[in-house]
């Protein structure tokens, strides 16, 4: 069965965007610092490997905020794979391209797994990740931990109940130290342990 895996870039202090993120400034103030590692996404090595895995996923689950901030990916996240956007209220206009809206998180997970078949599902966005975690539908987390403290912004882990979720580290990849230290990153993959 398809694995539902969050792929997320996070600062060491837990932020996935800088302050005041919005449609006009999708990564918040100075938040694009987090994406410097992607300069190496097509190089051989860990970052290239992880990015190739992202592109090999056959379905996407995204939160509404991420979807809107990303300009709805103009209807195609990658390769035309189905994108399931988790939203509280479905927009009146029809979604573009391979996008579809889902209001129930478990239904969203079910549809995405079915669409991905034997391949994996990529989760995009802190809101979707939190919703899937709360519903017990998130299988794995692949975090790209960037060596910077943003200080403020939008956190990946927020608004969660005080309920412990045990994880197991299943993979740890570290890029060799680049000349430009801002491209450095640690890729940590965790599996969510089922209670």
């Amino acid at each position: 069965m398809a694995i539902i895996r969050l792929y997320m870039t996070m600062s060491l202090d837990g932020y996935v965007a800088g302050p005041r993120d919005g449609v006009d400034e999708p990564m918040g103030v100075d938040g694009f610092r987090l994406f410097n590692w992607l300069d190496r996404r097509n190089d051989p090595g860990p970052s290239g490997q992880v990015y190739a895995e992202v592109l090999a996923t056959r379905a996407v689950i995204a939160g509404r905020r991420t979807y809107e901030h990303a300009g709805r990916w103009q209807g195609d996240h990658h390769d035309g794979v189905p994108v399931f956007v988790l939203t509280h209220d479905v927009p009146d206009d029809a979604p573009p391209g391979s996008i579809r809206y889902v209001t129930d998180v478990r239904e969203c997970a079910r549809q995405a797994r079915e669409a991905a078949g034997d391949d994996d599902v990529m989760v995009h966005g802190a809101g979707a990740a939190q919703a899937l975690l709360r519903a017990g539908e998130l299988d794995e987390l692949e975090l790209h931990v960037v060596p910077v403290l943003l200080g403020q912004g939008r956190r990946l882990f927020d608004h969660l109940p005080a309920r412990h979720v045990e994880l197991d580290l299943v993979r740890r990849l570290v890029t060799s130290e680049p000349d430009d230290l801002v491209q450095h990153v640690v890729h940590l993959r965790y599996r969510v342990r089922r209670s």
Partner: protein, 197 residues
């Protein structure tokens, strides 16, 4: 040269303690291996049992310590280490207001962060200052006085609790990853704070 190194166990979601100031979850790795490491004052009776890689790592960390710098909350929560963290190394406790009663053993209270770091650095000789406590780490970061961070990242999400990184200014602090070690149940990540200029 003496470095100020914050050492903290943290859940993957960034908490150093749960909602009741409990540290059982993030300290679990200290007690889940089969190699004994004596620590934090024999008088406390606390013995860590960790995996072999974590044990080597902990011993090398302890060997670096010339002085301890800690926040008042951590100090009190740890029973003031009965005045002896280990081997009688001097302990500098950063606090807003020093109690009338003097601290036990080799501990002393200091109310100013710069003063506290200066005293600890002087006392550490050619070894390092090891720092405990989220609020104290934040104070040193804000003051540009933190050199490195040794984070023990534990594979658990606590959901809520006391965060290591909270109430910080929006200025970016660039870091350099200098070491990664895996123990079962913990990742040891060492970062150097890159100073501007």
């Amino acid at each position: 040269m003496t470095k100020v190194v914050a050492i903290m166990s943290m859940s993957l979601d960034g908490y150093v303690a749960d909602t009741n100031d409990g540290v059982a979850e993030v300290f679990d790795w200290y007690f889940s291996g089969d190699v004994e490491v004596l620590t934090a004052s024999a008088s406390s009776g606390m013995t860590f049992r960790v995996s072999a890689p974590s044990a080597d790592h902990l011993r090398s960390l302890v060997a670096e310590i010339g002085a301890m710098l800690t926040g008042r909350r951590t100090f009190d929560n740890a029973g003031q280490w009965a005045g002896d963290h280990h081997d009688g190394v001097p302990i500098f406790v950063l606090t807003r207001s020093a109690p009338d009663e003097p601290p036990p053993g080799s501990a002393r209270y200091v109310t100013d962060v710069g003063d506290c770091v200066a005293q600890a650095t002087a006392a550490a000789g050619d070894r390092d200052v090891l720092l405990h406590g989220a609020a104290t780490a934040q104070a040193c970061l804000r003051a540009g006085l933190l050199d490195e961070m040794e984070l023990q990242v534990v594979p658990v999400l606590l959901g809520q609790g006391r965060r290591l990184f909270e109430d910080m200014p929006p200025d970016h602090v660039e870091l350099q990853l200098v070491r990664v070690l895996d123990g079962p149940g913990v990742q040891h990540l060492r970062y150097r704070v890159r100073k501007a200029g």
